[in-house]
Assembly symmetry: C2
Homo-oligomer: 343 residues x 2
């Protein structure tokens, strides 16, 4: 969708919902929500990368593995620590040797459900993201895929783990299998939340304030883009449909977004709509981490995407709804793997 079309779409969406902005009975609200959002699946399965316990277990170990980075400090965990809900809390990520990345680290929880990875969609899926991170210069900083494979081979304990995870491979210790294993682990990182319980019929799972926020979220038009099981993550959209985003975020420099990837003028300032699952746990906000607090990010979105001014009560209600998207991290994922020693 082009920016001009998107604007029309939003105006239409607002007109259609304007008459329904208050007074829903609980059941009506839930029915309406169930038409827009879906509960999270149990795992984010992929036909191309079937999940097996051995692959997931290897992937979890590799997620913590720093000895395959140029400075020995970068692992997947570096930018996606599970202790911080899978994001790093920095404005923009910092890779090997203190290299500053251009954009904010998104959480890896539920990430595999998106249409693509990274803010500008320049990674096709979590496996592609893992592979390009471990071989590219910015994150792990290794000189080549072969160098990564050599570093993995220098840790003898991995050979049997890769063999178990990839039993049909003659030479299983490869970067492609690293990516498959890490991707498989990430596909288990699903965080069902009170909102899922609500969608499944438990009205008491959302506080009254969160229900008001949910209604507002749909009424205002937020749900035009932030919909589905991930409350986003399914489309690209211009950031700043109504007004330039950087007026409000004070972003510097201004990021042209997906234009960097496609070089299409229509993609200027376009980003992937971020999923809002666990958004309350992953400050700072926006592609450049330019806004620290959720209660500041909410009115900026209303302003620049929808041309709306929110009052304090609406912001509080929306924040309460967004907090209901904070989910439970799977217990298995929270067990630290002990890695085999280097020879």
């Amino acid at each position: 969708m082009r920016a001009s079309e998107a604007k029309i779409f939003f105006v239409l969406a607002l007109l259609l919902t304007a008459s329904a902005s208050s007074g829903y009975a609980e059941k009506d609200l839930r029915t309406r929500a169930a038409g827009i959002f879906q509960p999270l699946p149990a795992a984010l399965i992929s036909a191309a990368n079937p999940l097996t316990p051995e692959k997931v277990s290897l992937g979890k170990a590799l997620f913590y593995e720093r000895r395959i980075s140029s400075d020995g400090l970068v692992s997947c965990w570096r930018c996606h620590p599970l202790s911080l809900y899978g994001a790093d809390g920095l404005k923009t990520a910092i890779g090997n040797s203190c290299r500053v990345a251009p954009r904010n680290s998104p959480t890896i929880f539920n990430a595999a459900g998106q249409i693509s990875e990274h803010w500008v969609g320049n990674r096709s899926d979590v496996e592609d993201q893992a592979e390009q991170s471990v071989t590219g210069p910015g994150a792990f900083g290794m000189p080549s895929a072969e160098a990564v494979e050599k570093a993995l081979a220098a840790i003898p304990g991995y050979l049997s783990l890769f063999r178990k995870a990839f039993p049909n491979d003659v030479r299983p210790v490869t970067v492609a299998n690293f990516a498959r294993a890490v991707g498989a682990f990430e596909r288990t990182l699903v965080t069902p939340s009170p909102f899922d319980a609500y969608l499944k019929g438990d009205a008491a799972a959302l506080s009254e304030s969160a229900q008001q926020g949910l209604a507002a979220f749909m009424d205002l038009g937020c749900a035009g883009c932030h919909a589905g099981a991930y409350v986003g993550g399914a489309s690209y959209q211009k950031f700043g449909i109504v007004e330039p985003y950087w007026i409000y975020t004070k972003s510097e420099p201004v990021d042209t977004g997906r234009f960097d990837v496609t070089k299409q003028e229509s993609d200027r300032y376009v980003f992937k709509v971020p999923p809002l699952r666990n958004v309350g746990m992953t400050p700072p906000y926006f592609h450049d981490g330019s806004v620290d607090r959720l209660e500041d990010a909410i009115p900026i979105m209303a302003k620049v995407q929808l041309g709306k001014e929110l009052d304090g009560a609406a912001i509080l209600a929306l924040r309460a709804f967004l907090s209901s998207l904070t989910g439970a991290i799977p217990e298995d994922a929270l067990e630290v793997p002990v890695l085999p020693p280097r020879e």
Copy 2:
């Protein structure tokens, strides 16, 4: 003990054990070992910092906390990841903003049992180590203790956790309490191993090769310093009693060790005798990580401390014994804490 005295002590120790270098019956070996080593305690208690579940739990969370460092990337985990047995696998540690530290990160497992912390004993205990790390320039890089406390206060969820851990404190969110909590967590990081089972009477807990290595370890004189529950960690010793260490380790620059701390000539090239618990899991070796492999570190120690040449069989046996010091990490410690969000 001064270096010259230590040399005499070692010669005496070697003379005393020389006649007993082979042919022990299993029970005799164990009896002899039990006179030199002790099993690990259940926790490394401290009268000054009593352990409570609340304090340990807070300490575990703070161990992962990066948002109290100048670049937002340094936590205790940075240099002591539990996934790598509490050491970082680097030659020397790297603190905030890519600052290279002068010495290798020692493991935090069983560390609280030592006479002091760090290679040169310039930290009195784990609490002192935690406090100086979080306030000093090298690791966390914060400008002051107040800045650390402010950063902690910016994460509102910590207030109730500090209150529970320090119920008698009017203002519990302090750097001193950070250090007490982290220290309390570290005091639970005890890793009983097959060697403990052996010392307690289970002869089958050590392989034949490991038993040969244990005998050699005592016969050669290694146990003159590497003794007690931690197989070291109880004294200071010159590295290079017989010959300068750097001839063999190829160290550059040469580290003058504890001389840096005391400015006493007798402390030149003196280091704390490192505990050998889990040594097989924490390469690289020595204060500067100058040697990658345990089988290379073993003959260097024999050469420069004891003036002995080891053959391949002796090295293998000693390595088998040292592997029996690899212990089990407490399950509770291996559960990732989920940290409260920043406001």
